[in-house]
Symmetry: C2
Subunit: 457 residues, 2 copies
Amino acid sequence: MSATTPDGRLGRVAVVGAGLAGSLLAVLLGRRGFAVDVFERRGDPRAGGEAEGRSINLGISARGIRALRAVGLWDGMAPSLVPMRGRVIHQPGAPLRFQPYGTRPEEILHSIRRNELNAVLVDRAEKEPAVRFHFGWRGSELDRDGGRLTLTKPGTGERRTVEADLIIGADGAFSEVRQLMHRGLPVNYRQDFLDWGYRELTIRSNPDGSARTPIEALHVWPSRRGLVVAHPNTDNSLTCTVLLPHHDDPQRPDQPSFDSLTTEAAVASFFATEFGDLPELVPDLADQYFAHPVSQLVTIRTAPWHHRDRVVLVGDACHAIYPFYGQGMNSAFEDCLVLDDCLARYGVSETALATYQQSRKPHTDVLADLATDNFIELRDRVRNPLHMLRAQADLALHRLAPQLWQPLYRMVSHTAIPYADALRRAQRQDRLLTWGAAAATVGTALVARAAWRRRRG
Amino acid sequence: MSATTPDGRLGRVAVVGAGLAGSLLAVLLGRRGFAVDVFERRGDPRAGGEAEGRSINLGISARGIRALRAVGLWDGMAPSLVPMRGRVIHQPGAPLRFQPYGTRPEEILHSIRRNELNAVLVDRAEKEPAVRFHFGWRGSELDRDGGRLTLTKPGTGERRTVEADLIIGADGAFSEVRQLMHRGLPVNYRQDFLDWGYRELTIRSNPDGSARTPIEALHVWPSRRGLVVAHPNTDNSLTCTVLLPHHDDPQRPDQPSFDSLTTEAAVASFFATEFGDLPELVPDLADQYFAHPVSQLVTIRTAPWHHRDRVVLVGDACHAIYPFYGQGMNSAFEDCLVLDDCLARYGVSETALATYQQSRKPHTDVLADLATDNFIELRDRVRNPLHMLRAQADLALHRLAPQLWQPLYRMVSHTAIPYADALRRAQRQDRLLTWGAAAATVGTALVARAAWRRRRG
């Protein structure tokens, strides 16, 4: 057991952030024998109410399932989940099109509300005797070398300082721990806001409780001028995310933005033109549209992820990504498993934290690019017949040789192959497919010539 | 004239930073009729003393000369300058090698001390009746919509608030104006610290005042394990920049770092092995080495560069780059000319500031990449005979067809061709050269075959 410090004392861990990664880490480290205090600036997720701006539903895939299984959670969770067996594509004037997520029954995603998953994890963590949660506290000062963290209770002016062998920043894209840990140091840091933002809409269930559109799928309304994605909920409603540019672009006068769609008439007309059946599914579309705020999407890349043997970051705090590959939570959970494993192997040490960063960062860097690219995939490529033909060839080859040929989407969503390895393999397959197509073309030409010669001769 | 606000009042400009870009802008805008107040947190550069950590000499090239000429300064400056006609490459056991910077007498760089150029610019700016400098003040609060800037005098607690139609952040890579302008907004921002840092050394002149090594050149000591670059000064001394990794890399045990070179013996032995004649040129090398701090190098990329029609950034504040292409000051001066031009065309307006950013950012983005790449050029490629052959082919083609063929270095340093255009053109030339080499190879083979057939026939 390694939950002790070099002098044999039980290790104390302070986790900032009781979101998905923070709560999962609390379970893992509590189970390893660390005394874990978790500080969260919001209230207890079990008290209900969605966290502001973070209520997008999540799609749990293989990596997330693996982590939840590791803490004994997955098997009882079915009532909170809606299986998503593939994408349903909605296009004006066309029948619904279904694209399965895989070739096997288990190759599906599972939709869950962020808040519900969070509550399950906090409940599970509290079963560990050495784990305590403290809601309503935010990190405000950090002695990064001495392992002292000062917390304040917003509104009340209350302050407390805790000492810990390890301080973990699991406090999201705008992590206070990261800022305090990096302050004044020559760190690499990059934040990229997408020039598109989102607003939420809800497709309610029918009065009889049934769903208005097939429920066991992710729904996508792709369009040249916008994108809507919808996740199913257990009550047969769906939560839609409407993506549009924040601002007008003088170069593209036909592209509306959240800035320019300011009247009910403009909203109604735009949605009717671009998103076919959506206005029927959301009869009070304009009301909902104007009732919800516009949210931002950001990618964060940074290094280092740790300060010596004292402070370390997980999840969005060190690699926030756009949501378009559905891998944010899944990759944050992987961080937790790897960090837990490094601490088990090396104890609370610089080696443990450096090994954790080295094991994860190359992969989350690749994931950030994949997530950015998948925005284009969802918005533009799912409408492109040539691109869909290419995707079908990929799936057909996978069916022929499941071990030898794996589509990128499958490796990312249905396996735990590290992201960078998955990308390298997919790029190799792409090259093979290109060569194969070239060879097939030449082959066809040779056969045609031979046939022509035979006929002539 | 456009130095008036829409209501006809004379425009007031507050510039934060009286460095190179801030002082040049003060001249340009003062001349256009704006009332310009320049606030600088350090003391007056004319009071002497190098600014801490910024004393690297500068290489003025075509873009910088153009800007200085625009304010009537270049012609009188010869006494402050040392012409650098090319690079002198020092390698252990080899004679000095000279690589000219161009093919014509005017295609040279000019070395100057940053502080000296700064003093010349402040002097020039004070000749404009509407320009006033305020030293010892730093920006501490900004009302970015209202155009109010609060300044404090460190140490004294004095505060003042100024109102301006336009507030300009010319306050360097860690710009306070940028931070205040961007605070809480969804901006893109990226900082990359080079994992190599630098320490300064001085090659003094001989006791008779003569130079110890050819003075009219940039000196380079390239090595697989380090890099030294030296700029000449008017007193026949040279200022060296010793570049090494900050930290040890367990993967490269033979690579020393500033962390590991901690004894006089280690320093002496490393410099003798890697940098041939440098220990002779700097007899008190170890003393100097330990007397100077290690400095960081950073690249900053960000957007937007402005807030509405009220606040705008120039130079390092919006695009700090590594110094390896010698274009930091030159590109900052270009910013000033373009911003001045946009303000002349559109008045103090969002259009002016947006046009300025659109005109400059694509080019400074490319420059950031070029400057990063040139570190590898200076350290590794100048030692590579194949690479040098390629550079000579480039120069030879330029001599044959000066208009049609221009080496990238020439376009960047000896012309005002925008950086991104220069890079595109160089890439086209590279492709042509590759095709040309392929064609030449095939041509030679055909001629050889024809000759062989003739001989046989």
